[in-house]
Amino acid sequence: MSPDKLIYQANQIATFFKSKPHAEGVTGVADHINKFWEPRIRRQFFAMIEGGNEGFDPLVVEAAANVRRPSPEEKPAA
């Protein structure tokens, strides 16, 4: 998906969890991403976070540590 859309959606999740106590908010964001984001999207997410995390809400950046790393990209049988 377009990077902008990904950042937008991640930040939207963060917005909801911001009204929670901080620790709960961090786990909330990570849990949500783990539960609903397909590996391809999480892969892109990590690439973007690692590539300078520009545009992401600080809560998202903090939560990234708790997001499950997807297994490496499946190589289609040649």
Partner: protein, 968 residues
């Protein structure tokens, strides 16, 4: 099976507990106190003649053919209006009674020429039967009444119209204006059953009795043609009419049906039960089924009449293939289509990876069909890329209710509304979208319940005949969360909450945290009023009424869920219900009004990419194990792609093939251009549907679908009720949808051998705790049950959270209002919100192919007179509607139903393409699209836009079918 005739007991059931015993014609009968003699007699097997009474309506006592004799009492009281008494001795036949009844009937016949005689009408009406039962053998009064034509003339196809020298000065011609039934005033016996049905059952008040003597008969509205009147064509009057004055056109044209099959309506989430009445293999009419637990014998225009799409000539009955989407379609055999699809899917997975294909389930199909599609994806494709269009509709409900109450289940059954004192209706327009339930709500309101309506539009439940909302809060579209938090503020700061309930059933800490949050002055009515554009005092009053007005029940619809804060708003509703103790008994609760017939079922059946049936996450090892053991394959523990993600991935090149059953994602999903781009990027798009829908423009394989009349299975309605769907006629395109999916699975090498949907349900029951008690046998026996249905609740669960909330303790969640990013500005100063209307259904693929177009030939844009005047737009003008995404044109309807600054339209017609202008903003939690708020501008226009014209041409191109022999 023959024609099912339901017993008409003449008067409604009495619900009192105390029993009374009496004798009727020597038979001893015991019935509840308050029962009429007529009903008691029928329960004892004695039928008393009747004309003005029927058990859907309260007795009226006008026809006097139901007279009886009671020992020890003078005279001959009417049995429909006289209640039973202990020890009463009733006689229903005697010389005296016969004479009176014959006299009355003879008078009726003299004023009802065409209803008496072999060839008249259907000859099968209740009136004809009564005349026979009473033994009428002569008519001494003649049939030359001033309001009818002579019988012989009528039989000859004509009569003498007024002004032609005849004495029939009060004659009224037949009204054939309604597409589905006729009204022949000369046959009306003025029993007023239709008038009462329209008022008491439907709640529309469109019919009245006009005139006196020979002049008197029923008229619609101010003596208008039915189609132009206030009549909503629900059919209740036709069903109630004892003569052929009101009669289905299909019956008059094709004759009486011969057999009937009880089944469930395939239109909306009310889930009405019908008797499909058939002659040969043609459905003659659909009659609402009195034993139907969600509709109790009522219906709306869609279920009752709009089934003609099933035989429409647009239906595609042969599988078709094409290489490229620019090629014409080529008809092929099922075998070829399935083999081709299987080969393509395997090739794509080989080339691009296991996750490169997926499937979409349909909320129009049965539970069993949905279950099979998700099974095909998980077992056969080896991934979790399955989703459903219910995402565009109700996923926030699941998320919101689950977080607060521990289950995504709506809390009540429909009957619960009978004990409701205050209704809080938000973002739903039940009179159009859930008509049969709306009639129940209206009935309860006429009995004195009160209603608070939160909706940008002045809907019928705000004001219509005999309905006046206590409070209407016409909030700005997109401010639901703000208003709900504002209501909570009043409830908490004025201490209107139910502390005892919260302490026993909810997490006290969570409550305190939430209470502190909502008490903040920035959620005060004054502040809320600014955000929502409504009056602060009304917010206060409404909150007080909901909290302290007795049993409070919340009803909500797409206006809540289709927002960027949809899930948050659902939590806001649950917070309110828990705080006021309005959970866990009759008359209260949080009730989602689901859109399509099987939205509930398709969600229950594991249509989401992260969940197995029964809402269990795919990452849960114990759950995966159940299916792995049964299906004999390893299952993916990662969530799959949602529909919008599939389209994104398609554009990125990692998603290339899709099997879409019974949904039209191009038309129902937001941001049409994005959907089109995604579909166009795929290599194998399989559309399995009744018609070449909009999505099929991008399809390579078309598999013909079957209608609900052609299959067995179950639908689950908005009250979690599992209703049976019975096959009425054989599938017109060889396979019912579940069979087609099974054939596709087999072509992919899976060993599936279901011979009947009941076996699929057995598998569902064996693997899903909330369904473990469900079998087709149970459903046949009980008519329907509401899940959870298991050891703990063998006959299902009408009301949830009794004696404790499912989650353990209810969870209060902070609901911070965040303004949507879709904002009005100088270029787009108006807010567009969308909805639906009664006679059309969803994207309209079915209803547009029925007589229902008589009421809604096109989508119109509702504009407030002030906004219209500013722009020089008059009623009926073409207007251009533009947003940041795109533009379209449609015609204006100037009305003050919408507030200034808000415009409203429906999206039933593909030509309008209202979705091209909506945004691709989605709910934060569930990606449910924000259909309900788009910033727009409008301007006068000369007609359809360039884009629409191009679209029309493309459509025509993409629908070409080359008629070559299938098996080359």
């Amino acid at each position: 099976m023959g024609l099912i005739t339901e017993i008409d007991y003449g008067t409604p059931e009495s619900k009192t507990g105390k029993q009374v015993t009496l004798t009727v014609d020597g038979k001893t009968v015991t019935v509840p106190e308050g029962t009429s003699i007529m009903r008691a007699a029928m329960e004892g097997g004695v039928e008393i003649p009747k004309l003005c009474a029927t058990d859907m309506l309260d007795s009226f006592g006008s026809c006097r053919v139901c007279l009886v004799e009671i020992e020890g009492r003078n005279g001959t009281p009417a049995s429909c209006t006289t209640q039973v008494g202990e020890g009463m001795v009733v006689h229903t036949v005697s010389e005296r009674l016969d004479t009176i009844r014959r006299g009355v009937m003879e008078l009726y016949v003299s004023d009802h020429p065409t209803g008496w005689g072999e060839n008249a009408g259907t000859g099968a009406s209740e009136f004809d039967r009564m005349a026979e039962k009473i033994g009428l053998s002569e008519n001494r009064f003649g049939v030359e009444g001033r309001n009818h034509v002579v019988a012989e003339d009528a039989a000859a196809g004509g009569g003498v119209a007024p002004g032609e020298g005849a004495l029939t000065i009060d004659y009224m011609v037949k009204d054939e204006s309604n597409p589905y039934f006729t009204y022949d005033p000369s046959q009306c016996i003025v029993c007023s059953r239709c008038v009462r049905a329209c008022a008491d059952v439907q709640g529309t008040f469109a019919l009245t009795i006009e005139g006196r003597g020979f002049e008197s008969r029923m008229v619609a509205s101010m003596n208008e043609d039915f189609v132009d009147s206030e009549c909503v064509s629900c059919g209740a009057c036709v069903q109630a009419c004892p003569t052929d004055a009101l009669r289905e056109k299909a019956v008059l044209e094709k004759g009486m049906p011969e057999r009937s099959v009880v089944t469930t309506c395939a239109y909306c989430g009310v889930g009405c039960n019908f008797k499909a009445e058939v002659k040969g293999d043609e459905v003659i009419r659909m009659m609402p089924y009195k034993d139907g637990k969600s509709n109790h014998g009522h219906s709306c225009v869609k279920g009752r009449f709009a089934y003609g799409y099933a035989t429409h000539s647009d239906r595609i009955l042969s599988p078709m293939l094409r290489e490229k989407i620019t090629d014409p379609w080529r008809e092929v055999t099922w075998e070829e289509a399935l083999a081709h699809t299987a080969k393509e899917f395997r090739r794509i997975q080989h080339q691009y990876g296991r996750g490169s294909i997926g499937g979409i389930t349909s909320s129009r199909c049965t539970d069993e069909e949905t279950y099979l599609v998700q099974k095909l994806v998980r077992q056969g494709f080896g991934n979790n890329n399955v989703d459903t269009c219910a995402r565009v509709c109700h996923s926030p409900t699941g998320y919101g209710l689950n977080t607060t109450l521990g289950t995504s289940a709506g809390t009540q059954d429909f009957d619960s509304v009978e004990e409701t004192d205050v209704m809080l209706l938000i973002g739903a327009n039940p009179t159009d979208a859930h008509p049969v339930f709306a009639s129940r709500m209206k009935k309860r309101l006429r009995e004195g319940a009160r209603i608070i309506v939160i909706d940008p539009r002045r809907t019928d439940l705000v004001r219509s005949p005999h309905i006046e909302a206590a409070y209407h809060l016409p909030i700005k579209p997109g401010t639901n969360v703000a208003i709900l938090t504002g209501l909570a503020h009043v409830i908490v700061t004025e201490k209107l909450y139910d502390e005892a309930y919260i302490r026993s059933y909810c997490e006290w800490d969570a409550f305190e945290d939430w209470a502190e949050f909502v008490s903040d002055p920035r959620y005060s009515p004054e502040e809320t009023a600014k955000v929502c554009g409504v009056d602060a005092e009304t917010i206060r009053q409404a909150a007080r009424l909901y909290a302290a007005g007795g049993n409070g029940a919340i009803f909500y619809g797409l206006g809540v869920t289709e927002h960027s804060q949809g899930s948050t708003a659902v939590m806001g509703l649950a917070n309110l219900a828990m705080a006021t103790g309005n959970i866990g008994r009759n008359g209260v609760g949080v009730n989602p009004l689901r859109g399509q017939n099987n939205v509930q079922g398709s969600c229950d059946m594991g249509s989401f990419p992260h969940e197995f049936p029964g809402y269990r996450h795919v990452a849960t090892d114990s759950v995966r194990k159940i299916y792995e053991d049964l299906w004999g394959v390893a299952l993916d523990k990662e969530p799959g792609l949602r529909i919008p993600n599939m389209l994104d991935a398609a554009v990125d090149g990692t998603f290339r093939g899709i099997y879409i059953q019974g949904e039209d994602i191009l038309q129902s999903d937001p941001d049409t251009t994005h959907v089109a781009a995604g579909l166009a990027a795929m290599e194998c798009v399989v559309v399995h549907d009744l018609f070449l829908n909009e999505t099929a423009r991008y399809a390579h394989v078309f598999l013909p679908g079957s209608t609900f009349l052609e299959k067995d299975g179950t639908f689950i309605n908005a009250e979690r009720r599992i209703n049976l769907v019975h096959k009425v006629i054989e599938p017109k395109a060889r396979y019912a949808d579940w069979e087609a999916t099974q054939e596709l699975a087999r072509a992919l090498g899976l060993d599936w051998n279901y011979t009947h949907p009941s076996e699929i349900m057995d598998e569902i029951a064996a693997t899903t705790p909330t369904f473990s008690g469900v079998t087709f046998d149970l459903l046949e026996r009980e008519g329907s049950v509401q899940w959870p249905c298991n050891e703990k609740a063998p006959l299902g669960t009408p009301v949830m959270h009794i004696n404790g909330i499912v989650r353990g303790k209810g969870n209060f969640v902070r609901t911070e209002y965040v303004a949507t990013d879709e904002k009005v500005g100088p270029r787009f100063p108006l807010l567009l919100t969308t909805g639906r209307i009664l006679s059309q259904y969803n994207v309209g693929a079915q209803t547009r192919r029925t007589g229902n177009v008589a009421w809604h030939a096109e989508d119109m844009l509702e504009i407030h007179p002030h906004d219209a005047e500013d722009r020089g737009i008059r009623n009926g003008d073409w207007v251009r509607l533009s947003s940041r995404s795109n533009e379209t044109t449609l015609r204006a309807l100037v009305t003050d139903r919408v507030a200034p600054g808000v415009v409203y339209t429906t999206f039933h017609h593909p030509e309008t393409q209202a979705n091209v202008v909506t945004t691709d903003y989605t709910d934060w939690a569930t990606s449910c699209p924000e259909f309900k708020v788009t910033a727009v501008q409008i301007a006068p226009s000369n007609g359809p836009s360039e884009w629409q014209r191009e679209y029309d041409e493309l459509t025509a191109m993409s629908r070409r079918i080359a008629r070559v022999e299938a098996a080359e």
